[in-house]
Amino acid sequence: MHELAVCQGLMRQIELLAQREQAECITAIRLSIGPLSGVEPQLLADAFPIASAGSIAEGATLEVESQPIRVRCLTCGAESDATMNKLVCGSCGDFRTQLLSGDELLLTSVELERRQHA
């Protein structure tokens, strides 16, 4: 399972961001994870409490949204929905397509409380 490793990388990103933004605590973390990213959202959610324990993000909610798998055909130009193991053009069937969305592995936003300056 590599989700714990991914989560640990996420925590390092969060720590840097918290420093830069002078956050006192992180209350929510939003990710965008596509089905073709190779990361399983549920496993990541399971790993999160372990990776975040004792950190500035302990107790934060982790929200994961997924983008649909979409491809654009390089032959006929059509855009269509696709699935994990069928990424060919939905219109003409050609296999020369470009993935438009569905492989994201992104930290999209973070909700935080700032340190109060007296």
Binding site: H2, A5, L10, Q13, E21, S101, L106, E111, E113
Partner: protein, 280 residues
């Protein structure tokens, strides 16, 4: 370093960028900070750094991935035997526990660095960077990185390689690309290994395997080969020579080569990273 370079942003998710500014108040009065950073940005930066090392030394780096036991080490042994006089080879071996594979390579007279990953089921760019310090890249033409035998995790971590090669042995079934789309989609070349067993495994059809691969919108070539009988080995060696020339030509142009399906964001991300070098 590059918190705003937009790693991983594609046409499909670009709309996420369009919001009402970087900071917004949520209902609870907290601040929402938009980030849009690749989740593996730390790994990806070290990978870019590894790739710079390879390019500077004129080394072709190949990431070999497959299920456990598909024949990666055996193929490397035969490749060293066939190419040893022509090209200088080094190997980074990822293994959960043992040093066996590295020893098999060393027995062929080639430098092999073992990365024992313990519980980690994949290599990452940091591990490879660490291993590179035990390799004199000036003495190497091709560096093979034998990833941990696993069809799931290795595909998620860029190591800085130029090319991905995924092995599919004929004992595994020709529908593996449909079952593990992420790793097969990442392949620049698919090797159907243990092809000497095809006559006894009449339920494995190389053309069906190719069909499943094309369904993933992959244009990667397939080569059926056997490290045991030597069938198909020449095609593999020709592919290697060609990959070496392609990388050398790109580098001569001041660019680099990366595996075919790396996301648009990672290509945007190909800006030079001039970190201080204390180690070479």
């Amino acid at each position: 370093m590059c918190d705003t370079c937009g790693c991983n942003i594609t046409d499909g998710n670009r709309y996420l960028l369009e919001g009402d500014g970087k900071l917004a108040r949520t209902e609870s009065g907290r601040e929402a900070v938009q980030v849009l950073e690749g989740l593996l940005s730390e790994n990806d930066h070290v990978a870019a750094h590894n790739r710079e090392h390879f390019d500077r030394h004129g080394v072709l780096a190949i990431n070999l991935m497959s299920s456990p036991g598909s024949g990666k080490t055996r193929l490397l042994e035969e490749t060293i035997t066939a190419l040893g006089d022509e090209l200088r080879i080094a190997v980074v071996e990822g293994d959960l526990e043992t040093e066996n594979d590295a020893q098999r390579i060393r027995d062929k007279g080639v430098n092999a660095v073992q990365i024992t990953t313990g519980t980690a089921c994949h290599l990452d760019a940091h591990m490879v960077h660490g291993a590179l310090h035990a390799v004199d890249l000036d003495d190497v033409d091709i560096l093979f990185i034998e990833n941990v035998g696993n069809l799931v995790c290795p595909a998620s971590f860029d190591l800085g390689q130029h090319r991905n090669v995924t092995l599919l042995s004929v004992t595994e079934g020709d529908d593996k690309p449909a079952k593990y789309p992420v790793i097969f989609r990442a392949a620049d070349l698919v090797l159907i290994s243990k092809a000497d067993l095809l006559p006894v495994l009449d339920d494995f059809s190389p053309s069906k395997a190719e069909g499943h691969l094309r369904q993933l919108a992959s244009a990667a070539p397939l080569i059926a080969l056997s490290a045991k009988s030597g069938v198909g080995l020449d095609d593999w060696l020709a592919w290697l020579r060609e990959a070496r020339e392609a990388v050398a030509a790109k580098v001569a142009d001041g660019a680099t080569v990366r595996p075919a399906i790396q996301p648009e964001g990672q290509q945007l991300h190909a800006h030079p990273h001039h970190h201080a070098h204390t180690h070479d």
